[in-house]
């Protein structure tokens, strides 16, 4: 009446990163993950297919029947109304998702490689390099990220906000703030893993330092990356919107951007024109919320102590096979090299 404690072999689909966690989760954690995934999926679909979803272009002011008109309330032609500048709100919100997604991708790509590499080198090698890098990282922490972003946008585009200037400004300012975070996380993991026995066992067989660093340390220290990854993504969206709101964003003719639209709707709010502010605002909140929900629940699910499980009925389940000598006598078969593990091996193969 004993079984080997081994996870069942799973199909390829259920072993894919996010799907695997989705199957694993229960209760509230599952709810959070599903909600986050749904929001994020809708957001990504909007971004990728903006061209086909949005009825008008992001800089379109007129169609065949003439100008859209300014501050028009929602109507069948403009379901979410038009802005003070005469743009269609619905189209701007959809196109804005595309810009936000581009910033996220660029910011993550910029910061993850540099941050992880520096953290690994600093944590594993230690010494003066480590101290210098830690001090620099701490100094950057002290900087307000929005200020950095403003400086970056001026440096990159001289305040002239083109599409790529705006995206790069937001992405690079995020990069500067997030490199220290990736650096810190990977560094502390590397310091911990450095003293693990498997690293020492690689050392005693004569493995070179780069080999140990990349084959043994790096792969084991990436466990907390998904969480920062998602935090990083949502921060990127917020910074882009912040820049736009402050007037350092992207010009409406270059790309749609939620922060810019919010800025322009400031005066509308007091005069009872709600549709110009509500929809871009909700878009910002939902995109950040969706990505953060996914990150949080993936993080909880990755940790067996935080992972929720279904309660089991009393006295259910079967006794796990824990002994290396499952019922077989110690002196069974020829002792020593002549092989005795076969009994267990075969039993395993049968299962």
């Amino acid at each position: 009446m004993s079984v080997e404690l081994k996870p069942r072999k799973q199909s390829v689909i259920s072993r894919l990163p996010v799907l695997h966690q989705l199957r694993q989760s229960v209760g509230l954690q599952r709810g959070m993950l599903v909600a986050g995934l749904v929001i994020t999926t809708v957001y990504v679909i909007c971004a990728v297919f903006a061209q086909w979803i949005a009825p008008y272009g992001f800089a379109q002011l007129r169609d065949a029947s003439g100008p859209f008109g300014s501050q028009q309330p929602p109507s069948p032609a403009h379901i979410w109304g038009t802005t003070v500048g005469g743009y269609d709100v619905f189209s701007r919100v959809i196109w804005g998702a595309q810009t936000a997604l581009e910033v996220m991708i660029v910011a993550i790509i910029f910061s993850i490689f540099i941050g992880v590499f520096l953290g690994l080198v600093s944590g594993y090698l230690g010494g003066w390099l480590d101290r210098v890098l830690v001090v620099v990282a701490d100094a950057i922490y002290a900087f307000p990220s929005l200020l950095l972003a403003i400086v970056m946008s001026i440096v990159i585009s001289g305040g002239q906000s083109s599409l790529y200037g705006g995206i790069l400004a937001a992405a690079i300012s995020i990069t500067v703030v997030y490199i220290p975070q990736y650096f810190r996380v990977i560094r502390s993991e590397a310091v911990r893993i450095k003293s693990e026995a498997f690293v020492e066992s690689a050392m005693v067989i004569g493995a070179s330092t780069p080999r140990i660093m990349f084959r043994h340390v790096l792969r084991n220290s990436t466990r907390t990356l998904p969480l920062i990854f998602t935090l990083n993504a949502s921060e990127a969206v917020l910074t882009l919107a912040g820049l736009g709101f402050l007037g350092f964003g992207i010009e409406p003719t270059a790309a749609a951007e939620w922060g810019y639209d919010l800025n322009k709707s400031l005066s509308d709010v007091t005069s009872g024109i709600w549709w110009t502010a509500i929809f871009p605002g909700i878009a910002i909140v939902l995109s950040v919320l969706g990505v953060t929900l996914v990150g949080e629940s993936l993080n909880d699910l990755a940790d067996p102590r935080l992972r929720g499980r279904r309660a089991v009925a009393a006295a259910s389940g079967s006794v796990a096979l824990t002994s290396v000598v499952p019922g077989g006598p110690l002196e069974a078969g020829p002792g020593g090299l002549a092989g005795l593990e076969d009994t267990e091996g075969e039993a395993d193969r049968d299962r």
Binding site: I205, G317, A320
Partner: protein
Amino acid sequence: MTDSKSVAADGRAARDIVSITDLEVSFSTDVGAIKAVDGVSLHVAAGEVLAIVGESGSGKTVTAKSILGLLPETATARGAIVLSNRGNTTTNDVLSLSKKQLRGIRGSDVSMVFQEPSTALNPVYTVGWQIAEGLRAHGSYSRAEAKAKAIEILGRVGIPDPKTRVNYYPHQFSGGQKQRVVIAQALVLEPGLIVADEPTTALDVTVQAEILDLLRRCRDEFGTAIVLITHNMGVVADLADRVAVMYQGEVVEEADAVTLFSNPQNDYTKRLLASVPHIGQGVLQTAERASGREATWASAAPVVTAANLRIEYPGRFGRSPFVAVDGVSFEIRAGEVLGLVGESGSGKTTIGRAIGGLTKVTSGSLKVLGHEMNGVRERVFKKTRADIGFVFQDPASSFNPLLTIAECVAEPLIIHGRARDPRTARKRVDELLEAVQLPASFGDRYPHELSGGQRQRASLARAIALEPSLLIADEPTSALDVSVQARVLELFADLQREFGFAALFISHDLAVVDLLADRIAVLYHGELVEEGTGAEVLGAPKHRYTQRLLASLPVPDPIEQAARREALHALRAAELS
């Protein structure tokens, strides 16, 4: 349901301090429900020591913890655990108590002694405060009263000068003293039952003997019943009145200690007892190996020579360095196994690490395969690493969890250019796995899918992959169950015979070292106090420390152990006078 029904109907049960009936505990895990305890029934009479023995995963700890209602949230239990207090005035079924009621019985009716005393005590409070914590939870004591009680109990568990020491913090005590404090904490409310979960596993063998004496006094002087959970058959023989053997969640045998050791009934119990290493087992093998050597062997250049070796760990800024190894000299000849024995902090692991080039030599000379390790450069030493195999203590952490066993074993082959990638090395890896008695299919598994013993065998396969002329084994079996340990040791001996490598075998267990080593070196506080063949060192120890070490080692035979205990007491008394 506060079940206070009288259990006097059953005449025997009336004297039982705890009686467990048909206990079943299941855990919810990622792979579904797992049953840890399967229909266990046990009784402990007042003032009796019941030992629950078994391998890891046999359900012994879960059984004992459920007496205190200490099961984690993922567990569900069924059955009955009827617990009486010391005066047999109240009786409760632990499994049906509410959390509040459970708090009421914990400490006053039943308390617990944990495995690791350094983590069971809170480092930021004095031990007096921590002992008084239990008192405060179960009644109103003034500060002075609580302190007086703490001083009294510390004195009774053998802490010298309890009046001053009551104000000490845990880090000011040694490991053995900390365990005494933990026991004092458990005794302060005079519970009828103490559950001791591996109370001596984290301690050195000489300290273990003292703690076992103290636990015996708990029974004799305080009249406390003890449920002792352990995997060490020597400890069982020393302390237990009755023994329950658990295997895969069931009690397979229950008998009084003398009967169990002299006449075990169950097959599993027999195997378990047979796998406990005894001192004196290795003499024949050693003689056989010695006779097989050529006459010129003794004059050949040794594989490792240490002369006046000293290793220091740098102290913190402004502090003097810590001397781990001080003036040690020894030799390991080709094909010879040197057993290095010592307690924690004796410097035995440091010597092993220095030979493997992981720790720097401070002064003296350490020659490994012709290289002087004092001031050696990694670049020069690297090629020599192919000739040195290393087996680590903890098989769980010595494998990269993200690589398969085959990839791990192939690492040394790839690094030293014997294979290009894991695939081309696979044939050799399969041979190696076969040599350590693992099926070749295990190569495709990940380390966590193997049991501890299997992992340690894979670790041996990796160590011998390059057919080294020297193998360093640092406590390779101390994390393993006794039956698994027996097999790994057997395998080690077979591999040594087949491949003929010289070995440094580091262990804290004299019996294990005796089984394998040609010569034994005993370390004490960084110094080598005695060296010689197994027969010399263990048969007629010269140094006082070796004598005490040997006498402290409990043997798995209650009658012989009682005699040895007396001998140890005499030895200690002689040392004091």
